[in-house]
């Protein structure tokens, strides 16, 4: 048994009267690749934000590597966040910056402030960024403006940015929502590949379950804020998915 990276007991989160997550018990081990599925509004994003310590839990306890988030100092929280690489559908690229700067943005968190300032005047870490971009197949676009890229390319930039901070945990929030099926599946493939290469824990949240399941180790299913499915990917059956999505208008 690998040591668990996350350990959640009875974790819940409310937004006013609305319950986004209730009573989640969960352990995620280092190096696991997990798919987090469920209809939209089932609490996937909320769970990811809790794991990244960018949202407070309303109840329960959340341990990261054995330390409770509620007990952490600001410094520890920031250090945990720095170990997370985020691929967010909401923000693929930072507009009005070059591809190079977009990738660098994933690394500035661990720099002292003077290095951050200097990096706006002199392009730093050019070879590192080039290597990262080559990994995602964009080696020749390093100095282009990020806004000029296609949707799929922008997503690759956001993957490269997530990797730039050398994360031990990769989180992808609906990484494929805005993409056509072929591009989406290439993107997922890439995420799996890079997380394997770096031995990083990977958590992909998506409401399109079918694309992901065969590529991960474990499937977590959320429905109306409750964890209703937790199985190794190999044992997950179409019936499980049907039960998860039953009554919702979306299909897996």
């Amino acid at each position: 048994m690998k040591p668990s990276m996350f350990s959640l007991t009875g974790v819940g989160r409310e937004w006013g009267p609305r319950v986004a997550l209730a009573d989640i018990d969960l352990k995620i081990a280092k190096g696991e690749r997990v798919a987090l599925i469920g209809p939209s509004g089932s609490g996937k994003t909320t769970l990811l934000r809790l794991l990244m310590a960018s949202l407070q839990a309303s109840s329960g306890s959340l341990l990261v590597n054995g330390v409770s988030v509620a007990e952490m100092t600001p410094k520890q929280i920031r250090s945990h966040r720095r170990h997370c690489g985020l691929v967010d559908q909401g923000l693929q690229v930072i507009p009005r910056m070059s591809v190079h700067d977009n990738v660098i943005a994933g690394r500035v968190a661990s720099w002292p402030w003077w290095k951050t300032l200097m990096s706006t005047l002199i392009a730093v870490d050019r070879d590192d960024v080039h290597a990262l971009l080559s990994d995602v197949g964009l080696g020749d676009r390093q100095w282009d403006q990020a806004d000029e890229l296609s949707g799929g390319q922008k997503q690759r930039v956001s993957i490269a940015r997530a990797l730039a901070g050398e994360p031990v945990l990769l989180l992808a929030d609906e990484p494929t929502a805005a993409l056509d099926p072929t591009t989406a599946s290439e993107g997922l493939e890439l995420l799996i590949a890079v997380s394997k290469k770096r031995e990083a824990t990977l958590i992909i949240s998506t409401h399109r379950a079918s694309q992901v399941i065969e590529r991960v180790d474990r499937v977590l299913g959320l429905r109306e804020g409750k964890l209703v499915l937790d199985k190794p990917a190999a044992n997950t059956t179409p019936e499980d998915l049907d039960a998860l999505y039953a009554g919702s208008r979306e299909r897996a």
Partner: protein, 553 residues
């Protein structure tokens, strides 16, 4: 191996190591150093023992302001006088501005109107050109100069300030009113023309309804500026709070100076609060307030209309105008004046650049999003004092921006003259401090309006304030920040000519001397030069700003 080659191939196509931003930074730094050297600023004067002593005496006065009842009553009266000057001046400015705007704007015409003769077309163009020239003159010459000119005609008192504000503000208001007329939908006016309506009817029914709202909004915005400006014109003897500041500095009464300074500060803050409240009500309420205020102004400030037309002032006017007819006769003086104009531009540049740098630092500190809340909603705060330490940043940053902005350049100039003595150094310091306040406010507005996505994502990945600022917020707000800064530079060119009036170097010093000694010929040359300078900077600024903003889209 193949990967290695691809890297080296890439290198050959790669742009130079330095980035565009570093070229801009190098350019700004170079021009800054050149201007600094050109103006001959003496930063060492800040540490001059004697200057420091008189300044600390002044600071000492601040700790014990004169709060005697008679003096407070005087200050209150002067503040009221300032307010009325601003209201009456703006009301007059608006009347003037409407006339000039109609004369200088092209009302919508019918294409190939057979009823329109060539003489009419030509005459219209001539009138427009003249009206525009008048607007440009009114706008380009700082109000303090107009105030001082009128002081020489009317003598001391609030009337000169009213005229100064009426003239300067009619220049800016008139220009914008005309621009608004020219940007309306021409169809309603054209229909009226086609139906044979007169010029007056076309204006009343085809133009006015379309621009009324924007006119009122802009006039009210300028009213606030005018009231603020009225608090300071007294330093050349034109009534209001400024008069007390000038007198108390002249007689070294620092306790009275302290009270006057605090009064200006309170005056500006109260004004801001009132306009904040009024902006939430209907514009009609504010217009009614302004009309009532102007009426009170007419009753309170007895404007000596007869003085305008008595033989002495007419005589002075004649000498003044005759100065223009013999402009270029003194080449040596013109050369000196040109050098002064260049120094004025350098002063404006140094202070704008330095102020922009300081404001870029202070603006994020004054925003709760950066210092306290963060971009993540309801994130775990972490335990310990770290969070509260930021309050110690927010409060001083906000206060210093507020004070820097509330006291006008001229007041800062007077204070710095106490410290470093009269001259360019005091002028640049004054401009810098005030510009920090203005730009800091503008920048923080821009920063608060930025798309929160990028900084939020960076914060979620553990980025600190500097990284969030530089990588998440600045890239998207840079075009607007640049545009604001350039605009402020244009304003500062005018302001640099203004601070000279109280002895802080540049063109203003020469203008002051010329008016004081009635050297009308010199004055005419200097005025023409100021006009050219301001118009030149404005034109260049308009083009550069349009490019900066266009490039952002």
């Amino acid at each position: 191996m193949s990967e290695h080659r691809s890297v080296s191939e890439h290198r050959s196509r790669e742009p130079r190591r330095s980035r565009p931003s570093s070229w801009v930074a190098a350019f700004v730094l170079l021009t800054l150093v050149l201007s600094y050297w050109h103006t001959g600023i003496d930063a060492g004067a800040l540490f001059d023992e004697q200057g420091w002593q008189s300044f600390s005496e002044m600071l000492g006065g601040l700790t014990s302001p004169d709060l005697s009842r008679t003096f407070l009553a005087r200050i209150g009266t002067l503040a009221l006088e300032s307010l009325l000057i601003g209201l009456l001046g703006t009301a007059m400015a608006i009347v003037l501005a409407i006339g000039l705007a109609i004369a200088s704007a092209r009302l919508p015409q019918l294409a190939h109107d057979p009823a329109r003769t060539r003489a009419q077309t030509f005459g219209g163009a001539l009138i427009r050109a003249c009206a525009r020239a008048v607007l440009a003159c009114f706008r380009a010459i700082p109000e303090i100069l107009w105030a001082f000119l009128f002081v020489r005609i009317f003598g001391l008192g609030p009337a000169p300030a009213v005229f100064a504000i009426a003239i300067t503000f009619s220049g800016t208001v008139g220009k914008l009113f005309a621009e608004l007329i020219e940007s309306i939908d021409p169809l309603p006016a054209q229909r009226l023309r086609a139906a044979g309506a007169s010029r007056v009817a076309v204006f009343l029914y085809g133009v006015l309804p379309l621009v009324r709202k924007q006119w009122v909004a802009y006039a009210l915005f300028r009213l606030e500026c005018a009231i603020r400006s009225a608090s300071i014109l007294g330093v050349v003897g034109a009534g209001g709070l400024g008069m007390e500041i000038d007198l108390s500095i002249r007689y070294f009464q620092y306790d009275k100076l302290a009270t006057a300074l605090l009064a200006v500060l309170a005056y500006v803050l109260v004004l801001e609060a009132i306009s904040h409240v009024l902006r939430k009500t209907r514009p009609l309420v504010s217009v009614a307030c302004m009309a009532l205020g102007a009426l009170a102004g007419i009753l309170w400030i007895r404007i000596p209309w007869s003085e305008l037309f008595n033989p002495t002032s007419l005589d002075q006017l004649r000498t003044f105008l005759s100065g223009f007819s013999s402009l270029t006769s003194d080449g040596g003086f013109l050369w000196t004046a040109t050098k002064l104009a260049m120094i004025t531009v350098s002063m404006a540049w140094v202070s704008t650049v330095v102020a922009a740098a300081v404001a870029l630092l202070l603006a994020p500190m004054a925003i709760t999003r950066f210092t306290i809340r963060g971009y993540l909603q309801d994130a775990p705060e972490g335990r310990g004092l770290g969070r509260w330490a930021f309050l110690a940043v927010l409060v001083p940053a906000r206060t210093s921006l507020q004070v820097a902005r509330a006291l006008p350049e001229l007041v800062w100039a007077l204070l710095f003259i106490l410290w470093v003595g009269p001259g360019v150094t005091a002028g640049v310091l004054a401009l810098t401090v005030h510009t920090v306040g203005i730009l800091g406010r503008l920048y923080s507005d821009v920063l608060e309006e930025t798309e929160p996505g990028p900084p939020r994502a960076l914060e979620a990945m553990g980025a600190g304030p500097v990284a969030r600022y530089v990588y998440g917020v600045l890239p998207q707000s840079m075009p607007r920040i640049l545009a604001f800064t350039l605009f402020r530079f244009e304003v500062n060119v005018r302001a640099a000519a203004m601070v000279g009036f109280v002895g802080a170097g540049g063109l203003g010093d020469a203008l002051h001397t010329a008016i004081s000694l009635f050297h009308m010929r010199d004055l005419a040359s200097l005025l023409v030069l100021t006009l050219c300078l301001v118009l030149l900077v404005d034109t260049i600024g308009d083009h550069v700003r349009a490019r900066v903003l266009r490039g952002s889209r």
